[in-house]
Amino acid sequence: MKLLIVEDQPKTGQYLRQGLSEAGFNTELVADGSTGQQLALSGDYALLILDVMLPGRDGWQILQAVRSAGLDTPVLFLTARDAVEDRVHGLELGADDYLVKPFAFSELLARVRSLLRRGSATPQETSLQLADLRLDLIRRRVERGGQRIDLTAKEFALLEMLLRRQGEVLPKSLIASQVWDMNFDSDTNVIEVAIRRLRLKIDDEFPNKLIHTVRGMGYVLEERPA
């Protein structure tokens, strides 16, 4: 899976590439718009990450060229400006997502994964599982080690999200947006509390913990060797 990053600020570009590579993506970085456009038009990429302000051709021009060439490669925009017109403009031109600097890397990573997942049809699952934790999507039941666990509707939704994206670090903002449909930056610690309560039910009685806090970044559901 190859990603193209077009970003002219060397530090930002380098860190993005390093982060995405370490997350398992094959990443290419170019610093100017013209080269970026050439590469983007080759169609070899699964996702384009474009900065708006670029030397040569700006991010919007690249996006326009890509779309008019008939390519539907997902495009994620990065911008330092958060003017409403910018956002509208980008979305009109066919951008798939939009991140305003400063953003957290964990947020970018989560969005990249969402965009990449969007195209591929996921098979209809009837249950999700990790270790001895099992979530039955049809009967809406959760069991761990054969033991039934009662969850509220939101706890169920939260656990479903964690299970579906197991191994991924999910930032709090993404959880708030996906589970509660709260699409704004909020410094409230509701998510912390919700995770703590879920842990109480899922993990507390069991020796191998599944929900982990990644400090400063979010939460991840995975089996870790004891």
Partner: protein, 449 residues
């Protein structure tokens, strides 16, 4: 091209009005006097006609000519022409009579070589169709001269009175507009450093008092906004200084000597927390800046506020249970607004309320739907906030508890300011009241903006 000044415009308008009025009066007067002259001439000519007819009654007698001369002689400006029914000229009382005279019967006026005549045509015998024609001519040159002189006089009056009123009007307008100039003098003296200047509203004429009032209010608002803005910039610097100095110190101390890898990780984590706090702060400030520039443009979607409130209460439920606070909602209402923005506004209020509600307390959301607008109240039980602090609650970076706590979940104090911006972007207002152990944030939203 610059527009004419107000005084010049008024002066010109005055002048035009006077000119029109005096012109109208003059024309009326000149018409009336002309009509009067015509009437006098008619009377004179009619009486002379009777005399002439009588004198000509017995045309055979030689002394009828004498009689005719007697009839005409006292009136030096009167002449007579007698024309036969075949059109031949029979008699002219004076040699210098004009050749061509109007043929139509009755009174008319002609001009011949600089002499004006009033002419009366009448048959000598009323009852005979082929009677010879009598033409009486009255020299009215002096009348016409008089009328002409009067017309000149009228034009002169029109011109002079227009000029006079223009000058007087300019003076009147200038003195009438003096309060405006005073206003402008004060306005031109207003700068960022002297926003406290105010117009004397009492000494303004009634038409301008309202404007002066608005002007003063505008200055007041500017002053207020400016004060807040200056404080805001200072606050930004202050707010950023603490995390920045933490970052600097911590990074430098960590780098001073080799350490176990765990220490580096710890340092990075600590830095990350500071950085996230700063990023949140910057994003919040950008949001507020956008609101200040009128760039917060709420979408207009039909919202069921009861449902929205319930969604938020569900979101906050774990937190509330954690601190043993009861959440509830009463009332319902519908409104057109931006879902995401209003959720954010309400979420800030709920977060704030939960923060200040003691254990076993209560947080209630009340929605009152009125025909004109909608009021949305978030109230919490607790100690309340003292009255003096209420107006300051919405100020940026304002915290009821001034001591800043350490930790990443610390609020920058922008939540209520953001809520206020969102409410304002929806054309609404927000205020806070605190009494009898309840603190209440009341949002009033109009149904139509």
């Amino acid at each position: 091209m610059p527009r004419l000044s107000l005084s010049s415009r008024l002066a010109l308008l005055f002048a035009a009005c006077t000119a029109v009025v005096s012109l109208f009066a003059g024309v009326l007067f000149s018409r009336a006097s002309e009509a009067h002259f015509v009437e006098l001439d008619q009377q004179l000519l009619d009486s002379k006609l009777i005399g002439v007819r009588r004198a000509l009654h017995d045309i055979q007698s030689r002394d009828s000519e004498v009689k005719l001369a007697d009839e005409l002689s006292p009136q030096a400006d009167l002449s007579l022409r007698i024309t036969g029914s075949d059109g031949r000229r029979w008699y002219d009382s004076s040699a210098s009579l004009p050749d061509l005279l109007p043929q139509k019967p009755g009174l008319s006026t002609i001009n011949d070589h600089g002499t004006d005549y009033r002419v009366l045509n009448a048959p000598l015998f009323d009852d005979k169709p082929d009677s010879p024609q009598l033409t009486l001519l009255l020299d009215i040159t002096h009348h016409q001269h008089f009328l002409q002189r009067m017309q000149h006089l009228i034009w002169m009056t029109v011109g002079l009175s227009a000029l006079a009123t223009a000058l007087l009007g300019a003076w009147a307008a200038r003195s009438g507009l003096r309060p405006l100039r005073r206003m402008s003098t004060i306005a031109s003296g207003v700068s960022a450093h002297s926003l406290n200047a105010r117009l004397p509203e009492e000494s303004m004429p009634s038409e301008l008092a309202e404007m002066a009032h608005s002007f003063n209010e505008m200055l007041g608002r500017l002053d207020d906004a400016f004060q807040r803005l200056s404080a805001f910039s200072a606050d930004i610097a202050h707010e950023l200084r603490t995390p920045l100095s933490n970052l600097l110190t911590h990074t430098q101390v960590t780098l001073t000597r080799p350490r176990p890898i765990e220490d580096y990780r710890e340092a990075l984590h600590s830095n990350l927390e500071e950085l996230q706090w700063m990023a949140q702060l910057v994003n919040d400030m950008l949001y507020l800046a956008k609101a200040d520039h009128g760039l917060l443009m709420p979408k207009r979607e039909a919202l069921d506020l009861a449902a929205e409130a319930d969604v938020l209460l569900e979101f906050f439920a774990p937190l509330a249970e954690d601190v043993r606070v009861t959440l509830s909602r009463v009332g319902s209402g519908h409104l057109e607004g931006d879902r995401s923005m209003l959720r954010r506004a309400l979420s800030n209020l709920l977060d704030n309320a939960l923060r200040f509600t003691p254990a076993d307390g209560e947080v209630r959301v009340k929605i009152i739907d009125q025909p004109k607008g909608l009021s949305l109240t978030v109230e919490n039980s607790g100690d309340g906030i003292s009255k003096e602090l209420l107006p300051r609650l919405f100020d940026r970076f304002y915290r009821v508890d001034p001591a800043r706590h350490e930790g990443s979940s610390e609020h920058a104090g922008l939540g209520l300011a953001i809520t206020q911006s969102i409410v304002r972007a929806h054309g609404g207002t927000i205020h806070c009241e605190s009494e009898n152990g309840w603190t209440r944030f009341v949002i009033e939203l109009p149904k139509e903006v």
